[in-house]
């Protein structure tokens, strides 16, 4: 089981998170939208999915609807990493099995690592 799947369409953020997570030696896969994430999820299981909500091609809610992780991969922890702090999509994503939500802009790199450590401990 790989450690983390990062699903993020903004390449600046994708690069920043990748640099951080790889520096901490996590096995990391990266997807630029929900469809790419779906393809990766068919090949392997992840301990954590860091999932953005607003993305082109297939958004976070669309990914959760299709991936049905609660069935296919019940051990995977899904953390919504979005800059939306309210709204319908957020509520739907949590109903579709996402475990928690973090506003990206509130999260410093060391807090991100603390979050990952905490989730991996679960």
């Amino acid at each position: 089981m790989a450690d983390i799947l990062l699903v993020e369409d903004d390449y600046t953020l994708r690069d920043a998170y990748a640099i951080l997570l790889q520096a901490h030696s996590y096995a990391l896969d990266v997807a630029g939208n929900g469809q790419e994430a779906l393809d990766l999820c068919k090949q392997r299981k992840y301990r954590i999915i860091l999932l953005d909500l607003m993305m082109p091609v297939l958004d976070g809610v669309g990914f959760l609807e299709r991936a049905r992780l609660y069935k296919t991969s019940p051990q995977t922890r899904v953390i919504l990493l979005s800059n939306l702090s309210s709204g319908e999509d957020l509520g739907r994503a949590l109903k579709l099995g996402a475990h928690r939500h973090v506003v990206k802009s509130d999260l410093a790199p060391d807090e991100m690592i603390a979050l990952i450590e905490e989730e991996l401990g679960k």
């Binding site: 953020l13 951080l20 800059n83 309210s86 506003v103 802009s105 790199p109 060391d110």
Partner: protein, 392 residues
């Protein structure tokens, strides 16, 4: 002595007198048009009320077909005749609609037509009673027009509100995303992920990082204010010990006080003082008030935080020895984007949204924020929570 009538008036009249009596009664009624039609629908009798309502004298109208009272379109479509047929079938019909007076003007009529039959059941004519309900109709139409307008306005407002909410939500998202990129990369540099930096470089990047965080905080404040203004805040009320909560908040901010060389005194009762609060939001209100007290107090000053209970309220009182607030600024204290100009405000920063939001949140709790202050004499902010029940 008064005469006491023990039997109905009609009992004391013979049958001819009775007919005359009823004729008199019908003729003298002015508010209802009461008239008879023969079996073909021609007017056979006419009362004063009918003359008043429709404008015809009995000489002018008797013998004429009653379809004359209907608008032309109804006459053409055979409506009057159809009404008589229905009445003949069912015995009685009631209808409302426009009718026409002699002078061509229209009125909204309520009419009851009753089929009259002889003892053998043979149709002998119709009795018709008509009332003028134009005034009522006018009121009803006006009301229904107003209702329709209100419904349309309400729909427009709901749509506008929805698009405003969506706009704020999307705008916050879009503003946060580049700021997140800045935060991440500066954070990586500060965290040593890009290799070692000289102290000066670190210090500058730290300042850029903090500035970016202020921008993020501003977006967060805007979003919070937009939500509270839109009435979208629903409090999650639970019973909490306010004393313990205040202790937590003060503990978290201890470093800030130390850094600013301020003395922090707390008076918190030994026994729990419990009431209903929205934990997350009430904490933010307290953080806001305590942080403000520290910000607007010069180095060496003192901030005293105390919790007390009166009969109705639990009060968290934050008193500082800071710069205080002048009379003009005092009135604007809880306004949006209000920044109080004083010797410390330059260095303090802030969006001017914090107190506005805090006040709104306390009002939602059924509480309040009260302030006493004078320039140079410090400020006392009292955050009040209702003791037993909370509103919201």
């Amino acid at each position: 002595m008064k005469q006491i009538i023990t039997a109905p008036l009609s009992n004391s009249l013979n049958s001819l007198e009775q007919i005359e009596f009823y004729k008199l009664l019908v003729n003298s009624i002015q508010d209802y048009a009461i008239f008879l039609l023969d079996i073909n629908g021609n007017v056979a009798s006419w009362n004063l009320g009918a003359q008043k309502l429709k404008g015809y004298t009995s000489d002018e109208i008797i013998g004429k077909h009653f379809s004359i009272f209907y608008p032309e379109a109804d006459r053409k479509s055979g409506k009057p005749q159809h009404k008589l047929e229905l009445c003949n079938q069912y015995g009685r019909i009631e209808a409302e609609g426009w009718r026409v007076r002699k002078d061509g003007s229209r009125f909204w009529a309520n009419a009851v037509i009753t089929a009259l039959r002889d003892p053998q059941g043979q149709l002998i004519g119709y009795a018709k009673i008509t009332r003028d309900l134009t005034e009522r109709k006018r009121h009803e139409d006006a009301l229904s027009h107003v209702n329709e307008q209100l419904r349309k306005q309400s729909k427009t407002l709901t749509e506008m509100n929805k698009s405003k909410d969506e706009f704020i939500s999307l705008a916050s998202h879009q503003l946060r995303t580049p700021a997140t990129g800045v935060k991440q990369f500066l954070g990586l540099v500060l965290g040593g992920y890009a290799g070692p930096l000289q102290d000066k470089q670190l210090a500058y990047i730290q300042r850029a990082y903090e500035s970016n965080d202020r921008q993020i905080e501003l977006v967060n404040d805007l979003l919070r204010v937009a939500q509270v203004d839109a009435g979208k805040v629903v409090l999650h009320l639970e019973s909490h010990d306010v004393g313990a909560l205040v202790s937590d908040v003060v503990d978290e901010q201890k470093d800030v006080f130390t850094k600013r060389r301020q003395q922090l005194i707390r008076h918190i009762p030994g026994k729990p003082v419990k009431t209903q609060v929205d934990l997350m939001r009430f904490r933010m209100v307290l953080e806001n008030i305590v942080d403000n007290a520290s910000k607007y107090t010069p180095e060496g000053g003192t901030v005293t935080v105390s919790v007390s209970a009166t009969k109705d309220y639990i009060a968290v009182v934050v008193a500082d020895t800071g710069v205080g607030i002048d009379e003009i600024s005092f009135t604007k204290l809880f306004n949006k984007f209000s920044r109080i100009p004083n010797e410390l405000s330059e260095s303090v920063g802030g969006s001017g949204l914090g107190l506005y939001w805090a006040y709104k949140i306390m009002r939602l709790h059924g509480g309040d924020i009260q302030v006493e202050s004078a320039p140079g004499q410090g400020s006392v902010f009292s955050v009040l929570l209702p003791k037993e029940t909370a509103h919201g």
